[in-house]
């Protein structure tokens, strides 16, 4: 959350790089020719009004949707050349909310995160005793839930399980698609704190879609502000969270405060 250190981003190691990237569905272009980078050890956020293509961006990076044009590189490697399995060893996603039809146990769901690392026919992919599974359960503090069925959990608990599953994938890039939009503030902060800790300790690269401006101010090091199919502004959180930029982005008069001694910004609606 401390942002005083000099950011000479050109000098940082680049983990993910998109060049001339267009995303969309069939003939509909949602995001047009984006250029951006993601760095290890940085918590990057995406902000923008509803329908601006934030989720499309996430889904394109993890190749649930194929890009319309442009290239994506992961540590120099062309993303399109990777198999889905090796991609899932590099990039993990925490979804917004998933509807689960079948009552798998929490431990089973987390063990699914090991699937990209298992190989061969009849592959385990479901190794319940795996130490990585155990570690992910511990890291997210849900060991006590491991024998519960996921269908019986509350929204906050379920989101922790999905985060644990993503961590069990041992990715180098973690994507979060509005991971906290259905959660109360304490669960939201808990989830984002856990992610922040991984970013700091494991130098995980993170790109999270935020709905809540104040949560973005609280956790993101760097922000991409998306509107009308392009990245309008990007920069350190402190640089881009300004009244002019935000008011333009959301077409709403917004006020930015910098409470003394808090070290971060706060946003509110001007009435």
């Amino acid at each position: 959350m401390e942002t005083d250190k000099p950011f000479a981003r050109e000098n940082f190691e680049v983990l993910f790089e998109a060049a001339d990237l267009s995303c969309g569905y069939g003939n509909r272009v949602v995001l047009d020719r984006l250029d951006f980078r993601l760095w290890p050890g940085f918590f990057c956020g995406v902000l923008g009004p509803n329908g601006c293509g934030k989720s499309t961006l996430i889904n394109t990076i993890c190749r649930v949707n194929e890009p319309l044009s442009g290239t994506m590189r992961f540590s120099g490697e062309e993303l399109a050349s990777l198999s889905r399995q090796s991609l899932a060893r590099k990039i993990a996603v925490v979804p917004q909310e998933t509807h689960v039809t079948f009552p798998f146990k929490v431990r089973e769901v987390v063990a699914m995160g090991r699937n990209p690392h298992s190989a061969g026919l009849f592959k385990a992919g479901f190794d319940l005793e795996n130490e990585k599974v155990e570690r992910a359960l511990t890291a997210t503090g849900i060991v006590h839930l491991s024998d519960r069925e996921i269908t019986q959990l509350s929204g906050g608990e379920r989101q922790l399980v999905l985060l644990a599953r993503a961590l069990a994938q041992e990715p180098r890039l973690l994507l979060l698609d509005e991971p906290t939009s259905n959660l109360d503030i304490s669960h939201a902060v808990k989830i984002l704190r856990l992610v922040k800790a991984r970013v700091a300790q494991d130098r995980l690269a993170t790109l999270a879609v935020f709905h809540d401006l104040n949560l973005a101010c609280l956790f993101a090091d760097y922000l991409f502000l998306v509107k009308d199919g392009t990245i309008r502004y990007q920069g350190e959180t402190r640089e881009v969270i300004t009244e002019e930029i935000l008011s333009e982005l959301y077409e709403l008069p917004l006020q930015v405060h910098a409470p003394a001694g808090l070290g971060r910004l706060q946003v509110s609606v001007r009435v």
Partner: protein, 356 residues
Amino acid sequence: MTDVNSSRRIPAPVYCLLLLLLLLLMIVGAAAVGAARLPPAAVWQVFTDLFSGKVDSSVSALAGVDSAARMIVLDVRLPRIMSALLVGSALGVAGVVFQGILLNSLADPFTIGVSAGAAFGATIAILLPSFFVLPVFFSGTVIIPGFAFAGALFSLSLVYYIARNRGRIMPESMILAGVIVASFLSALISFCQSIAGEKLAAVVFWIMGGFSGALWSQVLLLLPYCFVCMLILQAHAGDLNIMAMGDTTALQLGVEVYKIRRRLLMVAALLTAAAVSVSGVIGFVGLVVPHINRILLGPDHRRLLPASALLGGLVLVAADTLARTAAGASEIPVGVVTALLGAPFFCVIFKKKFQQ
């Protein structure tokens, strides 16, 4: 913290062992009952002779089992039991796969119209003028199943063609396409029935399903076929688990969703097609068996698949034994038995599960 009773699961090895034991007992029992009642001990003797290689009838005669009993067991009842066993297993496994892939607990092996295709094929075969066909003897054992299988493949490719969109198959479109194709083929079958004349009874009886006239040759064809199909499905059991979390999640977890779904649908449909072409349309097994196992074992497909093969086989052997013995000399179509007993049984289980 509320620990709901339904989350308790039976250990899969124990359950499967139990089913295997029951299945063995059921086979011996089923081979013993019928028009000629045989003592189970004699049946057992015939089995042990068979497996110790004493195929020559003169040898087992020494053991006190007469050759007539031997013939009834080996040539009449056992092929029928084995057919029912294989078809039941196939339907049980296919049911699990269809429910898992289509993410729909109402799905069964016939959801995507394979049965209508098979019934249509069989109807054509039965109505073909007899001079088209080889000797009448063949028509029941080769021609009808052959046509039924071809019909099933035909309807499958039709459904596949309709549901396919840019190389991807979505569950909803598969179900819709299945309904469309099935209702079209059903209309064709009804039309054929209306012009069938004296052959109407044969058509209707075939569609209702049954195992009378089962032959070893069918069993020997079906056995390796089913085995290979089930092996392929079992190899993807882990993928099925992950795909149950939804397409997006499965893709993000490294599963080639579209490729694997295509493969699983094909194999499960081929399994169903073979089963239907041997036995006619037998409902309820492919729907009920996966549900019972899911309640008892939980949703892990690696356990569900083998357990459903065993339970499906067990259920259908039991149903077929009832079908050929319950009404004395005349036979009840086995599809009628499975639905008559399956529906109420299923209701009770379902009610219980939801009341908890």
